[in-house]
Symmetry: C2
Subunit: 474 residues, 2 copies
């Protein structure tokens, strides 16, 4: 096990667009990909490398924690840090090849494609049952028949549609048949199908403000006008919405945990929305991206479970409860709209890859899905508490954490006049991910706060360490 | 091994939309899915069932050949026909569950989702190296790292982009860097990205007439006007196109084997197109869906390989050389357009599933891809000859087979005034797939011919059998 000497690390480029931690990360990744570093090889300690390169210790630590999070290196106590002994070089080449496109994304990005501390939208990557997944994946790949090789059914594999319908019945209180379930490749496709089936150019749609920014973009792209509706402690203020745009054709809401403020839409508001939709023959689009992740009590039933008039559409995704890389989401439509959605799907889609769908169907059917969600609910409650405690103990003078019943991120309110955008930008430069709440509002104003995903923060100690790095930027 | 008695087959429904063969097929599939029929169980002989049900022998044979093609049953010589002993019931449930949506597609469909004899667009499903694929699939699933679980890079996995660029260089004469390669989920997504990056509503595009009907639909959907350009023995008549719409912004061509007439675009025409595009700053979209499958000589280099001015885009797909169920295609753009396509991709896509991309990248990198294409070129040449000979020997009085250098289907010209549409419709009723050439023309007129895919016809004998069934419909 030859050690790599710190002085053998190629020099860093201070003029490059990529920050130093990223350059260090890339160099190690390249060295492993090219075979220069082999599984089991020792790499310099963070301390030695800090000294050699004359950089801040935090910079090196960020690079190393990123490499460790992605499985390239492992700390071996006294023996130092080594390249992971069980790396299978041939097959990991995909993830090991340098990805120059990652470097360009230093601006605000709502679809991050690298792993940074506090990165939004990611489940706990270390806690996913990869062995079970791999076993099912191997089995599904071996079981592939000629009939699985043709175009997959455009509405989704029947087995997966059935499993989703069963799961929704048990966990989210939604009564639907498999034929009401449409499998999509993600949130964007779900919204596009809704747009094409039920809306037309020039229509207006109520959107929560603040709200998930890509939604507005997707509707704009379809020439549908988003109407910004304020949100208070009970979620979307429906009475304001009615005043702003009584003739809107649809309302998009995140009832379980408002995105990004995490409060639940109250029962009164749910009923008001359903009433409005029924009277106006309008549609409610329920985006239930993380409804399972509620920590103070049992998850609330979906709004869709109260829908007596067939006005609500339910959008779910596997990105948060499994992982985003699989690109699978789904949409439940009212029974009377099934044919319309079948027509849209037939003309817009060629189906999602069969293999992934088969794996997910087996994962649900064999009970791994329900167990995983249970485990994550517990783990996230712990990580949420640990992250909040760790950050508050270090940053308490400058911030206040919102106390919310669920979700996958913390809301760190900034005291005084601190700009959340400026702080988020500085954090990005230091290899820490953060999103500024004001970027999620239509006018770019309102209260200053950071949105910090906690699902990948493994302890209070880690949170404190990151908190200290944020403190230096205050 | 208990045998199922013919009288135990549930009665068929003469009023159902599904033809008898399909009802029989469904009953066996359901019985296997529900466990009523187990691996190794004997099923009635086609003769016994024909007698029992009082139907035509061909009807039963179609159902059985469909069940056999999909791996559910196997002929065991003297021992009769049995449910495949190595069916893994748990995992095949996806393909075993009844798929009601299949039954509705009796009309013209250009994206078939069942397997029928002569079905267009399918590679030889029996000849795909499923074991190798399964081994790679298992390995890739096991090698999944946390970094593979986040959103895949929207342009495609770097390893796959690299492998595609290498393959195109060697096999299609195209010089491009991996950054010019964009991985898509299929032909439709490829065309949508081109539309958004380079065209705008109201633009005109030259399309071949006859041509692949969905293309027109996709452009219409983007409010881009297709201009029908006639095709002769040298492919698209460029001089006619210039007269019809000199200011068109793009031309979509299938230079290797015109879709559906299979002639190659001549060198003169290729150069004329490139010249027109350069002068008018217009774009050439080269749809090379089956360029590898040429039987009379080596495959021709792609038109893109002659593109000196950066006006040609190259659209490739894995649907024909591997299989359509994986939903992967790609697009090569001129170097100067890379940034534009990166922006479009970032706003329209969330990436294709990582697992499938990793498997394909490994399949290419380890040489299986090149070997598979070589084997298929040889096999398709044989099946093409056998199918043509078999059909001509039976139907020679009524048809004439076009002799073309490549492609995956035969063109059966109908003599006299026979309507290709009527014949194709009757064939569908009998469980035989056919497409009518006149459905591929803009005006629905022109020469009457059937398009028959030969890649899944395993012998002259099989072709003769099917030929006899077509003969009865003449």
């Amino acid at each position: 096990m030859p050690a790599v000497k710190p002085e053998n690390i190629p020099p860093l480029d201070p003029t490059a667009a990529a920050p130093f931690y990223r350059q260090i990360y890339d160099r190690f990744r390249d060295a492993i990909a090219s075979g220069m570093l082999k599984p089991g090889d020792r790499i310099p300690s963070a301390r030695a490398l800090t000294k050699e390169l004359g950089l801040a210790r935090g910079t090196i630590e960020t690079a190393y924690s990123l490499l460790a999070a992605e499985g390239y290196i492992q700390a071996h106590g006294q023996a130092g840090t080594v390249v992971s002994p069980n790396l299978t070089p041939r097959m990991s080449i995909a993830s090991l090849t340098p990805q120059p496109e990652l470097l360009r994304k230093d601006a605000v990005s709502f679809r991050p494609d690298s792993i940074l501390p506090f990165q939004m939208g990611l489940p706990a990557l270390d806690a996913f049952p990869r062995k079970i997944w791999a076993r099912l994946g191997a089995r599904c790949a071996r079981a592939m028949q000629p009939s699985d090789m043709i175009h997959p059914p455009v509405y989704g594999l029947p087995s997966l549609r059935t499993e989703i319908a069963r799961y929704l019945q048990v966990s989210r209180g939604i009564n639907c048949s498999p034929s009401q379930v449409f499998v999509t490749s993600g949130y964007r496709q779900t919204m596009e199908w809704i747009g094409h089936a039920l809306l037309k150019a020039g229509d207006r749609v109520w959107l929560e403000d603040p709200g998930y920014p890509p939604t507005r973009e997707i509707f704009e792209y379809m020439h549908i006008e988003g109407v910004s509706v304020p949100v208070d402690g009970e979620g979307m203020v429906v009475s304001d919405a009615v005043k702003l745009a009584p003739r809107a054709r649809a309302a998009l809401v995140t009832p379980a945990h408002q995105s990004p403020l995490c409060m639940s839409l109250s029962l009164t508001r749910r009923l008001a929305l359903l009433d409005w939709a029924a009277r106006n023959k309008a549609w409610i689009i329920e985006d239930d991206y993380d409804g399972e992740y509620r920590y103070v009590s049992r998850p609330l039933p979906a709004l869709k479970s109260l829908d007596r008039d067939g006005r609500a559409l339910y959008a779910g995704t596997f990105s948060k409860v499994l992982f985003p890389g699989m690109r699978l989401a789904y949409l439940v439509v009212p029974e009377a709209q099934v044919e319309r959605f079948e027509r849209v799907t037939e003309s817009l889609s060629a189906g999602s890859p069969g293999l992934t769908q088969t794996i997910v169907a087996a994962f649900i059917a064999e009970g791994h899905f329900a167990r995983h969600i249970q485990r994550m609910r517990k783990l996230y409650a712990e990580r949420r508490a640990a992250t909040a405690a760790g950050l508050e103990s270090v940053l308490g003078k400058y911030v206040r954490t919102d106390s919310q019943p669920g979700g996958m991120h913390l809301i760190l309110r900034l005291r005084g006049n601190r700009s959340d955008r400026r702080l988020a930008a500085s954090m990005r430069e230091q290899g820490l991910y953060a999103e500024a709440l004001t970027n999620w509002t239509t006018r770019g104003d309102g209260a200053s706060a950071l949105l910090l995903n906690f699902t990948n923060i493994d302890s209070r100690h880690t949170a404190e360490n990151f908190g200290r790095r944020i403190l230096r930027l205050m």
